[in-house]
């Protein structure tokens, strides 16, 4: 259950999202997250939400941050994901590594953007290497390739590093979802000075960071589900077929109610996840929920939902895109199996 303090926080974020994101959500998708929006997010402390107050962060605790992401995602999933990504960089990586304080400050203020380039969610490792101090290689699946700086996972013969780099070339592609956030190719070729090495043995550390923040992805997915369902319920009260409102039909009412129940259960679970295994499970279930809720909303809206004007088809694209970005199902389920069944599980 959310505390009084958390309820207050959610109410403040909800007010911001309603006033400053809801009406421009479609515009944000087309034009991207503007510097003005970044500044507003920074003013609200959302770009360094989990960073301690002593470091000029908002000092929000883990479950409160999940509630923030869930609330923002109801109005703009792209903005929620952007907040998640910037916080991962600022708090989970740079602050914990005690590196690059100037970049932390720039992200927290909305002045700069950063991105994380890794292959944790891919089926096979990427070919980005570091030899001596020379970084080289490319990645086809970079979120925010036009960010001001990239934290890149690079492998050497013996270990792996997370280094701060700038791409020599980027190519943007139209992504399936979260179209406010660019996506595409980036290649690297540069000498990495010592102060640009953020983590050594980065592969394992990055994996634990990413898997451990699975509840934050779940929060975004739950917010999207809630929003899609609210829109579906709203439309079922406006649209008539066979001289009755859609919600009056038993099967429609039943699936809407069932979805509401699933979302409420997931919201409770979000506040209870205790370890990485729980969080990954929560993420998988929340992503599935988001895909189901978006499919349901689109089905209720029918042809109108298929057009971008009403923003319903966006849920359908975004929910699958969030799944692609944040989950490698095989790897996720392997970790869970090994944790809850046996270390030998998922071997064959």
């Amino acid at each position: 259950m959310a505390s009084e303090e958390q309820k207050l926080l959610v109410s403040m974020i909800e007010q911001f999202a309603k006033e400053e994101l809801e009406n421009v959500a479609q515009k944000i998708e087309k034009e991207g997250i503007s510097k003005d929006i970044r500044k507003r997010l920074a003013e609200l402390g959302l770009l360094a939400a989990t960073l301690p107050q002593s470091e000029n962060g908002a000092g929000i605790d883990r479950s409160s941050f999940s509630l923030v992401l869930m609330t923002i995602a109801k109005y703009s999933a792209s903005v929620a994901y952007f907040i998640y990504l910037q916080n991962t960089l600022v708090n989970e990586i740079l602050f914990k590594a005690q590196k690059r304080k100037e970049e932390i400050a720039k992200i927290a203020s909305g002045e700069s953007t950063g991105t994380l380039v890794h292959d944790i969610n891919l089926n096979f490792p990427l070919e980005i290497y570091i030899k001596g101090h020379e970084l080289y290689g490319a990645n086809n699946f970079v979120i925010l390739p036009d960010a001001d700086f990239h934290l890149v996972l690079a492998r050497s013969e013996k270990t792996s590093y997370l280094v701060m780099a700038n791409p020599v070339k980027i190519e943007k592609k139209k992504p399936l979802g979260f179209r406010a956030i660019s996506f595409g190719f980036a290649s690297y070729k540069q000498t990495i000075e010592e102060d640009r090495i953020i983590l050594k043995d980065a592969d394992n550390l990055l994996k634990s960071h990413i898997f451990d923040t699975s509840d934050q992805i779940a929060a975004i997915a739950i917010g999207m589900s809630e929003s899609a369902l609210e829109k579906a319920i709203e439309y079922s009260k406006e649209r008539k077929a066979f001289e009755s409102y859609l919600y009056e039909f038993q099967p429609i009412s039943a699936v809407l109610s069932d979805m509401k129940g699933r979302i409420e259960e997931m919201k409770k679970a979000l506040m209870l996840s205790e370890d990485t295994k729980d969080r990954i499970l929560l993420k998988l279930n929340a992503l599935e929920l988001a895909r189901s809720a978006s499919r349901l909303a689109l089905q209720i809206y029918g042809g109108y939902g298929y057009l971008e004007d009403l923003g319903i088809e966006r849920y359908y694209r975004d929910s699958m895109y969030l799944t692609m970005l944040s989950s490698n199902y095989i790897k996720d389920i392997e970790i869970i199996s090994k944790n809850i069944i046996s270390p030998d599980a998922f071997k064959i």
């Binding site: 089926n123 592609k173 029918g302 939902g305 692609m324 970005l325 095989i330």
Partner: protein, 374 residues
């Protein structure tokens, strides 16, 4: 009992497959998806290659499947350029066939079916467009929505209300079907852009303002349009089922291409193998129910419940296999054709009767059997 299609049909399938692989290039698929233009040049090639024929509907069915396997947007756009032709074939006068049907089947004209309205989609009998008798013919006023081929068609097979329903239970009475030409005065089609998928298809909103329709353009009996449209849906839904089967098969093709590029160790994972088995089984079942429904329709012995089962189930399968494939490919699907097929697949659960409507048709037919038992 044989589950094999005749050799002639299998040969058509091969030709359709080769044609689609050759003509629906990656560049063209991306171009039409991006611009939402209608692929008129490819449509002409489809006619020249002889794929659009009513002599043997099985040929059209397997062509639909194979075209959509490569690209549902272009595939459906080209084949649906004769959309609604069965209406004239079954109910048209010789004059109507001469003027509208035969030129369409030769690729000289494009046709469309205009039934859906802003306030009535699934509820066909709920349409409010009106067609009324006048001294010179009929006057049409109304508003149609989501009309495939709406801005490129030469003529529409349009359903409108010609008389008030005799009772609440008989709302489907008093509907009349008419052929309306796009270029007539008072006809205003507007292309709808920004669709989730199937972006090569032309979709329009059309208003009709005091459009004069000649008497000779009324199809079938006045007031019996609902039955004509339902008969047509029984046919068209089989083609939508084939569209779904083709889309699902296209997703399996892409998954196999993906796996072929990965090390054997990945393919050897039993989780991956089980996913392949599930997808293949779903597609095979969808194909079989589609062919069974088609066999009934094409032999003039339609089974509306079976047709609806095929349309509903195949659409479900197309969307389900997309989800399974994404679980395997993940982020590597980004920017790939798999993403596009995921977007294209969704419409199959909506157009030509939503899955909910199909379930209603199925259950009503099944419930009749209870009465028979009693």
């Amino acid at each position: 009992m044989s589950f094999e299609l005749p050799q002639e049909v299998e040969e058509t399938r091969k030709r359709a497959r080769n044609f689609a692989l050759r003509e629906f290039t990656k560049e063209l698929i991306e171009h039409f998806d991006e611009t939402e233009e209608y692929p008129n040049e490819i449509r002409k090639k489809v006619f020249d290659a002889g794929f659009i024929t009513i002599e043997n509907p099985w040929n059209m069915l397997v062509t639909m499947e194979e075209f959509c396997r490569v690209d549902p947007g272009i595939g459906l756009s080209t084949l649906a350029s004769v959309f609604g032709s069965e209406i004239l074939l079954l109910y048209g006068t010789d004059e109507q066939k001469e003027k509208y049907l035969y030129p369409t089947l030769k690729g000289e004209k494009i046709s469309a079916v205009a039934v859906t309205e802003p306030g009535a989609g699934s509820d066909v009998a709920g349409i409010s467009s009106r067609i009324e008798k006048s001294e010179k013919g009929w006057i049409l006023n109304g508003h149609k929505m989501f009309i495939t081929n709406g801005t490129v068609a030469d003529h529409y097979y349009l359903l409108a209300r010609s008389a008030p329903p005799p009772s609440k239970e008989k709302r489907h009475h008093g509907l009349t079907l008419a052929i309306v030409e796009r270029k007539w005065n008072g006809v205003n089609p507007v292309k709808l852009k920004g669709k989730l998928g199937m972006r090569a298809t032309d979709t329009a909103e059309i208003t009709f303002e005091n459009v004069l329709v000649p008497n000779k353009n009324i199809v079938g009996e006045e007031g019996k349009g609902f039955y004509i449209i339902m008969t047509f849906f029984n046919i068209s839904r089989v083609y939508v089922a084939a569209q779904s089967v083709g889309t699902a098969q296209g997703i399996l093709d892409l998954l196999l291409e993906y796996l072929a590029e990965k090390p054997a160790s990945f393919r050897e994972m039993e989780y991956v193998q089980f996913a392949l088995a599930e997808i293949s089984t779903l597609i095979e079942a969808a194909r079989n129910i589609t062919y069974k429904a088609a066999a009934k329709v094409f032999s003039f012995n339609p089974d509306p419940a079976l047709t609806s089962m095929a349309k509903y189930y195949a659409a479900e399968v197309a969307n389900q296999v997309a989800n399974i494939a994404f679980k395997i490919v993940g982020i590597e699907a980004s920017g790939s054709k798999l993403e596009k097929l995921y977007r294209d697949a969704k419409i199959t659960e909506i157009w030509e009767g939503t899955s909910e409507i199909e379930k209603l048709v199925i259950s009503r037919m099944i419930l009749k059997k209870i009465q028979e038992v009693k």
